[in-house]
């Protein structure tokens, strides 16, 4: 069958099998290997991408189900060479060790900050509760998200001041 999916703003039309999972479509058909493939059972969350603005576990979504929809992956976070604040937060606060869970963590946490720009530690932990860091670096991940929240708020304030002046 043929499927047309928009990934990070680019429209792709591909011939696929109905049973192809979204995670394999992204990695193998499109070559976007930023999205990781982990447990295959919707437990670990490293395959999280956005579909129509909502985080989903792409190992449990058919590529065909994404037809006509907009997908955003970790490759769609940075603006050219400029990292998204959530990526910068992970860099500044050592939010990754081996990096395997990172793409899923980044996508979930970006979504959290979009919905809730000033999350508490509890809210961050709840948001990533469907994801596993095999290095158990949760404390650093929480700090990274807080870093992003604080710096985004500061950046917004600076921008407002600049506009006011």
């Amino acid at each position: 069958m043929q499927v047309t999916v928009t990934v990070n703003g680019v429209e792709y039309t591909k011939e696929i099998e109905g049973r192809l999972l979204l995670v394999h479509f992204l990695r193998d058909t499109l070559g976007l290997t930023g999205t990781h493939w982990g447990c295959d059972t919707s437990n670990c969350g490293t395959c999280v991408v956005w579909m129509d603005g909502e985080p989903v576990k792409s190992c449990t979504v058919l590529a065909a189900m994404a037809g006509g929809r907009e997908v955003r992956t970790v490759e769609g976070l940075a603006n050219g060479a400029e990292l998204d604040p959530i990526q910068e937060g992970f860099r500044q606060c050592h939010g990754l060790q081996c990096g395997f869970c990172t793409p899923g963590m980044l996508m979930t946490c970006r979504h959290l900050l979009d919905k809730n720009p000033d999350p508490t530690e509890g809210e961050i932990r709840e948001a990533i509760s469907g994801q596993i860091c095999r290095c158990t670096g949760y404390s650093s991940i929480v700090r990274s998200v807080r870093w992003a929240a604080v710096h985004e708020a500061e950046a917004a304030e600076t921008k407002e001041e600049a506009v006011a002046q």
Partner: protein, 291 residues
């Protein structure tokens, strides 16, 4: 790599069109909503179909929570996240929010649906226990129109429902009774977001004097399907709620359920949980009804 066996993918654009496809394809086809129960089963080759009909585009038609004076109607495509986040639903039936908080995780809840959960008919499934507790009925639509069945009729065995090959579950209806009411849900699980070892829902309705007008308990993971226990309702009606009454209900729950020993626990442990969780949820439901 876990991948389902080959199938043809179809996408439904309306309920009527989905029924048309089912009429044509018969038992070789299956509807898929959120897919977070069905796709894992298909990956393990425990479920195989020639055709899979994606009904996610029906969210506009079947994704709703409508609160009426004597009935709450919830569309089958309403997602877990929507059930969790609905303040209006939590106000009338707090048992929904209690349960949704312990169903899988936030990302899975973005996809999974009420209808999909009920149609999966897993004996450990939480929303089935919630719907059993609240005496819900299920609206099933086919080419010849709609029929409405009770939860007891809906689940005909583990992973089996009353929905025929050419039908679709469209709506869940929950009666709203007069008087003060409260409800609650509690689950014991091996790890966060897992299937229940045992879980219990309780709902209680009090009359003007504060006596129990009606009470219902629904248990998951202790029988072939989620279990409502009429004996508890009969024992509680007309009495003033107190700890000794909850103890009696717990004892009835432990004796009436039918758990089996498996990797999640022994039958004896599960009976203990049925007792404890029945008492716990009844206590909470009464507390909520009084507040």
């Amino acid at each position: 790599m876990q991948v389902p066996a080959p199938f043809e993918y179809e996408r439904a654009t309306s309920v009527d069109q989905a029924i048309g496809l089912l009429e044509r394809l018969g038992s070789s086809a299956r509807l898929v909503a959120g897919g977070h129960s069905l796709l894992p089963m298909m990956k393990l080759r425990l479920a195989n179909f020639e055709y899979l009909i994606d009904i996610n585009d029906l969210h506009g038609e079947l994704g709703y929570i409508r609160l009426g004076a004597d009935e709450v109607r919830i569309g089958a495509m309403t997602r877990h996240r929507e059930l969790l986040e609905s303040d209006a639903l939590a106000q009338v039936f707090p048992v929904f929010r209690d349960a949704e908080k312990v169903i899988a995780d936030p990302i899975v809840r973005n996809r999974g649906t009420l209808g999909g959960s009920l149609c999966q008919a897993d004996p450990s499934e939480d929303l089935s226990a919630v719907c059993t507790t609240l005496d819900a009925s299920c609206v099933i639509r086919g080419a010849n129109g709609e029929r409405v069945v009770s939860m007891e009729e809906f689940h005909v065995g583990p992973y089996e429902t009353a929905v025929a090959d050419n039908e679709i579950l469209t709506e869940i209806r929950i009666p709203v009774k007069s008087g003060k009411s409260g409800s609650a849900y509690a689950k014991v699980e091996r790890r966060a977001g897992d299937w229940a070892v045992v879980s219990a829902g309780a709902a209680i309705w009090l009359d003007d004097k504060g006596h129990i007008h009606d009470a219902r308990v629904g248990l998951a993971a202790v029988g072939p399907n989620t279990t409502g226990i009429p004996e508890i309702s009969a024992a509680l009606r007309g009495h003033e709620p107190d700890e000794s009454l909850f103890e009696l209900a717990g004892a009835i729950a432990a004796r009436s359920c039918d758990p089996s020993t498996d990797t999640r626990g022994s039958a004896e442990y599960k009976r203990h949980l049925a007792d404890e969780l029945t008492r716990r949820t009844l206590r909470k439901a009464v507390e909520r009804a009084r507040s």
